[in-house]
Amino acid sequence: MATSTSTGRIRSLMNRRSFLTAAAGAAVSAPAILRHSRAYAETPKLRIGHVSPRTGPLAGFAEADDHILAGISKAYSGGIDNNGRAWAVEIISKDSQSNPNRAAEVSSELILNDEVDIIVAASTPDTVNPVSDQAEVNGTPCITTDCPWQPYFFGRNGVPDTGFQSTYHFFWGLEDVIASFLALWQHEGVAKKVGGLFPNDADGNAWGDAERGFPKPLAQAGFSLTDPGRYQPLSDNFTAQISAFKAAGVEVVTGNMIPPDFANFWSQAGQQGFKPKIVTIGKALLFPSVIASLGDRGVGLTSEIWWTPSHPFKSSLTGESARQLAEGYSSATGRPWTQPIGFKHALFEVVADVVKRAADLEDSEALVEAIRATSVDTIVGSVDWSKGPVKNVTKTPLVAGQWQKQGDKVDLVVTTNANAPQIPVGGELQLLS
């Protein structure tokens, strides 16, 4: 409670300060605008602000930033055509340090000092929400991704019918996770008994919520759910949960955990003789580095899948296929592909598409209008805000799959596409025990 009030206070202070800076900035820069507008310059320049958690606990989401931005800058280097004129594009990228207050601060800098025309952001509510809030207050066009839409929309007090003015988002939602997981668990030989590990944080509370989370759809699909209650993240002991799961005969374990908590639970489960047949965990099992750290016990774990190199999509900007993008990253850095790569690329595809179509790039209203009318097939699927679950939100396909051993390395394989039939299935689910 105390934290949220102080954040609120910081935010309102910030708004007041940003307003003062904006007012001062406007007063000083007004004569300059009168003298020469950039539309009359030789090659007019468009500025894009980009906020991303380069450092801190969320840094894994942004590890491909340098590679993706280099590729995007190359694609933009010839300029983007708008109404018959080529516009040079400059991307200004800032680090949120995985801190929502810092994210708000750098986005306000981007909007007020760097005077960016569009602002983009990705990776978790802690980045996406503060950036979008700053953009909304200043009327700056804003596109975000890589955060389930419920925390984005309801976390910012969105009203489904009204939506937001200038901020738009594309990703999937909790309902897609639930549908994908249920499809994954429809397997003969697995009892319909699910154990839930939901932490006491924004994600855990949403997943475990009796109304909007897992409990209701699970009951409707005939699964029983053993939910011992919300645990504190970074707990050292999961004995209570393991005993409850054993007592209930749980064969499927699900939840939304951070990697250290899952690793802890998983080794304790091994020590205490708890052997579920399917383990499907959100968040913790996204990154190959985590799976590698679990060794043999990482093989066979299942997770939601937003994007893989075998998704049948290609970039509208460079024409690269999903596989080419992922392999480009792997060969340039020597690191395995990760799911955020596709979405980071798609973010700039949407920007390029919007810039091409905008009626007047000098006018932020026109840019927002162009975002609203977007209908483009990107490397992560179709982005079209006329088809959203609520205003300002559109969804990309979500499937689920398993970390399977292929040769000497472990790769993420799509095993169910019930929720998005256009994504090809790469293999069959193998039970853990």
């Binding site: 002991n237 091994g270 205490q272």
Partner: protein, 287 residues
């Protein structure tokens, strides 16, 4: 049986907390310094172990042969170069220095190792267990950790009360000025205390790395339980620190058995209760 199991597992976790706390307790006992960077030093030791294991192919537990002396040497250097110049009448300056070390360690590790989450694979020992009774299986790894923590505290007691180094520790702790009159070099004594603390930190780091995933920002969360174990057990009493760790582990296990949301809270409540009723801890040995 569920409750017995919960309490036994809680006791084993308590051993881990005591391991996190022993080095902290030692430093506080000898130089009245709360080492804020203790948790980050544990994580740094985990990374050192990671590098050693990758370079030599040793089993993580065997890597202690290299990691422990290395960390001890680093601890000695850190004390002599960074902390000793600030230690004096003012308690705040060395505290702030350890705070700075904590920030530098976290960010330095991030630059060197990225934010990737790592773990040390220890093979079959990770999930091996001994079935004591139906519904009560004791993990081999938690048992090893508990035994290590008891042995370390036993060893520290021996050093403190049976060796000349221990006499120097106690003398400096009791009255640094008189100790210096007796030709004890305070700087060296403090350096040796930090070296010993860092050696224990090395073992805690190796166990942490085998037990669960760690990343550069994992340190501070480890500091809090260690700190609570020291306070519950009583300042300056090493066996008390073990008792404090076990009290914390059991309280958390009982809390979790009632509801998982109570796990961490129950530990904090016991800590609060001890502070309220016996502010100097359960078995204080120091004024």
């Amino acid at each position: 049986m569920e409750w017995v199991n919960a309490i036994v597992q809680g006791i084993l976790i308590g051993g881990l907390y005591a391991l996190f706390a022993a080095g902290l307790s030692l430093i506080f006992g000898v130089m009245r310094l709360v080492n804020i960077a203790h948790g980050d030093m544990i994580v740094a030791a985990a990374y050192v172990a990671l590098v050693v294991v990758q370079a030599t192919g040793l089993h993580p537990l065997a890597s202690a042969v290299i990691v422990v002396p290395l960390m001890a040497a680093l601890g000695y250097a850190m004390q002599r170069l960074l902390l000793n110049p600030t230690i004096g009448k003012d308690l705040l300056s060395p505290l702030l220095v350890t705070f700075g070390i904590s920030v530098i360690l976290q960010n330095g590790l991030l630059v060197a190792f990225t934010a990737d989450s790592h773990r040390l694979a220890a093979g079959s020992i990770e999930t091996a267990s001994i079935q004591v009774a139906p519904g009560l299986a004791l993990g081999v790894l938690p048992l090893v950790m508990f035994a290590a923590s008891v042995l370390i505290i036993f060893g520290l007691e021996l050093i403190f009360y049976r060796t000349s180094l221990g006499r120097a520790f106690r003398a400096t702790s009791d009255d640094p000025e008189i100790a210096q009159l007796m030709k004890l070099d305070r700087n060296h004594v403090f350096g040796m205390a930090m070296a010993l603390s860092a050696a224990i930190v090395a073992i805690a780091g190796i166990f942490l790395a085998i037990r669960t995933n760690f990343d550069p920002s994992a340190g501070p969360a480890r500091l809090i339980f260690g700190f609570e174990a020291v306070i519950i057990g009583g300042l300056g009493n090493l066996w008390g620190t073990l008792a404090g760790g076990i009290a914390l582990g059991v309280a958390q296990a009982i809390g979790a058995q009632i509801s998982p949301g109570w796990q961490i809270l129950a530990g904090h409540l016991v800590f609060f209760l001890v502070l309220a009723v016996r502010p100097r801890g359960l078995f204080p040995r120091m004024d």
